[in-house]
């Protein structure tokens, strides 16, 4: 019940944003702008989709942006030293499982809280990226790589957008319709109950952290392809944006609650709101401030309303 009304509110907010944007910014409704809007944040939004599962599982992964940076740098570095691009892509994608496994072992097996582990790894993985590229910028990727990141793939829609749609649907089904998704929710609600029901808590958590890191690595490759070059600071600070998207989507930071529809709506709201503000020439820190207010008010508003209604 409560979740439904949350998504209702988000849908309303989304429409509001669309209408306001369309009225205030004539360029808003152009196809190119709509594509740009997704493409500019594609890495964040696909990671946010997985992060939703992680947070519903009552964990958090702060290291994703560093894994993204590391994968991008591995790719850039390998191409730079002359490795063939397809191989470099594979190696960069492999960063995901490796990083995820390190996180997962420390979290699910050793039993250190994920916030602690991934906070340390946020520094650590970024550091490894830095070792690889140092103060350099590595680019000159083959044309097909940058085309994949920048040009349309099947019509005007770029690959990244297709990926977003596929992941949104896929992860939505995974979360809401499969046994694995149910396990994620139950563990997020109460891990002990899950254990006493015979679920393999460690395995589910391991899978989730592997998924998060793998998605981050994919994000890294997309990032490299989109920008055509990488540096050691690729993706710095993305984690806060990603978490904002998930939380605005109604996912409880305490786990157990949240829906993919909410997260997708929240992503749409944030992307469109930012885009609309940019098109009306609102500068960076005000944009950030508005998102900050939105985040607080979206939770505060319903709470206050509930109180008023109860008297």
């Amino acid at each position: 019940m409560k979740l439904k009304s949350w998504e209702g509110m988000l849908a309303f907010l989304f429409l509001l944003t669309l209408v306001a944007n369309a009225m205030l910014a004539p360029e808003f409704l152009t196809l190119q702008n709509q594509i740009n809007l997704f493409q500019l944040s594609i890495e964040k939004i696909i990671i946010a989709l997985v992060m939703a599962l992680v947070i519903i599982n009552a964990e958090i992964d702060l290291s994703v942006s560093s894994v993204l940076g590391l994968a991008a740098c591995v790719f850039g570095y390998l191409v730079h030293i002359g490795v063939a691009a397809p191989l470099a892509i594979l190696a960069a994608l492999a960063v995901g499982p490796v990083a995820g496994l390190i996180n997962a072992v420390l979290i699910a097996r050793v039993g250190i809280p994920s916030l602690v582990v991934t906070l340390a790894m946020l520094i650590g993985f970024r550091g490894v990226a830095r070792i690889l590229v140092k103060d350099q910028s590595m680019g000159d990727f083959p044309q097909w790589v940058t085309d994949l990141g920048q040009k349309g793939f099947l019509g005007p829609i770029p690959l990244s957008l297709w990926l977003f749609v596929i992941f949104a649907v896929g992860l939505g089904v995974l979360l809401h319709r499969t046994g694995f998704g149910r396990q994620v929710v139950v563990i997020g609600t109460n891990a002990e109950v899950a254990r006493f029901s015979g679920l393999d808590v460690a395995r589910v958590k391991t899978t989730l952290f592997l998924m998060a890191s793998s998605m981050a690595a994919l994000g890294g490759v997309l990032y490299a392809a989109r920008l055509g070059s990488v540096r050691g600071d690729a993706g710095v600070g993305f984690e806060l944006d990603i978490i904002t998207m998930v939380l605005l989507g109604g996912v409880s930071i305490f786990g157990g609650k949240g829906s993919m529809a909410g997260v997708i709506l929240s992503i749409l709201i944030i992307l469109n709101l930012r885009n609309g503000m940019a098109l009306t020439n609102i500068t960076g820190h005000i944009q950030t401030g508005v998102i900050g207010i939105l985040l607080i008010v979206s939770v505060l508003g319903p709470n206050l309303w509930e109180r008023l209604r109860r008297g």
Binding site: S137, G232, R274, G284
Partner: protein, 321 residues
């Protein structure tokens, strides 16, 4: 040569908002826009410091969507912005860089260079030279490993050091980064003096780093032993120059840089200049300039502003007012 009163929509896009040099550039740009009587719009927008690179890429894309005529970019995203800049050019939005160029030159119409990047290497080397008395160890405290202009200057300095025999007794022992944050720069400066007991100069080609380093040396009573130099704002450096912690540093006028960039961009957007090597134009109060090949970046073109001022005890107080 400029025809005033035409409609040119311009965006001045700094690395990020919140530090003085960029606001000064904004002032210069506004002055120029007024002088030119541009009937188009002028926007000064920028990303937040923590979101600088991604934010710039987003803002350049948005400007392209808006069909702005020119985006004046102090690039902080390195070559990562090249693809977006090329897209902008293709859509008819000119990209003129200033302060910090696109390293590969891709997607960039012109670079309005504050100084000659090669000569700043010489100047930095010379300042080290005069402070060490010709021989000794020194280290560089830079902004971040990803700052293209700083990297270019350090590169240029290394080159001069290697090529010119008169610097043969200077030894660059380390390059560290303070990420343009006071506390990090301060700690890194102290780290340097601890790590290299014979260190004589800290060269900080960044306005945040140089004050932080100067304060660190002053706090630890090391000003006699380790001198600080680099690029700094006179207003922030005056006390350290007067007390000898940072006897010499250099800078150029960001107001002028903003002014010149706006003039150049206006001319480019109105078609008064094509942006070809060899073209000359007049930029209001600043006089005549010529477009030339950028010696540091193959295939790229620049407009050289220059000169810069070296500040010391004699002129810093006047400049800080």
């Amino acid at each position: 040569k400029a025809t005033p009163g035409q409609a040119v929509n311009m965006v001045l896009l700094p690395k990020f908002l919140g530090i003085l040099p960029f606001d000064q550039a904004d002032r210069g740009a506004q002055e120029a826009a007024k002088e030119l009587g541009s009937t188009g719009t002028y926007q000064y927008i920028g990303p937040t410091p923590e979101n600088s690179a991604a934010g710039q890429i987003e803002m350049l894309t948005t400007a392209t969507t808006q069909k702005q005529n020119v985006v004046m970019l102090s690039n902080n995203a390195g070559d990562q912005i090249a693809a977006v800049a090329e897209a902008a050019q293709a859509a008819g939005t000119k990209v003129v860089t200033w302060d910090s160029p696109i390293p590969s030159g891709k997607g960039e119409s012109l670079f309005v260079a504050q100084v000659d990047f090669g000569s700043i290497g010489t100047v930095m080397a010379d300042m080290v030279m005069s402070m060490t008395g010709g021989a000794g160890e020194f280290a560089v405290l830079s902004a971040s490993p990803d700052a293209a202009n700083q990297n270019a200057w350090i590169e240029a300095m290394k080159k001069v050091l290697a090529e010119d025999a008169k610097y043969k007794d200077l030894k660059l022992v380390d390059v560290v980064y303070g990420n343009d944050q006071s506390e990090e720069s301060y700690n890194k400066a102290l780290g340097l003096v601890d790590k290299y007991p014979d260190l004589k100069v800290i060269m900080a080609p960044t306005t945040v780093g140089i004050v932080a380093a100067a304060k660190a040396m002053q706090d630890e009573g090391l000003c006699e032993k380790v001198k600080v130099s680099g690029l700094g704002l006179p207003a922030e450096m005056v006390s350290y120059t007067m007390n000898g912690c940072a006897p010499e540093f250099a800078l150029w006028s960001f107001v002028d840089l903003g002014y010149l960039t706006t003039y150049t961009s206006y001319l480019l957007a109105t078609g008064a200049i094509k942006g070809e090597v060899g073209e000359t134009f007049t930029a209001g109060r600043m006089g005549d300039f010529t477009i030339e090949a950028d010696p540091g970046r193959e295939g790229a073109k620049r407009v050289l502003m220059g000169p810069f001022t070296v500040y010391n005890k004699d002129n810093v107080e006047a400049a800080s007012k």
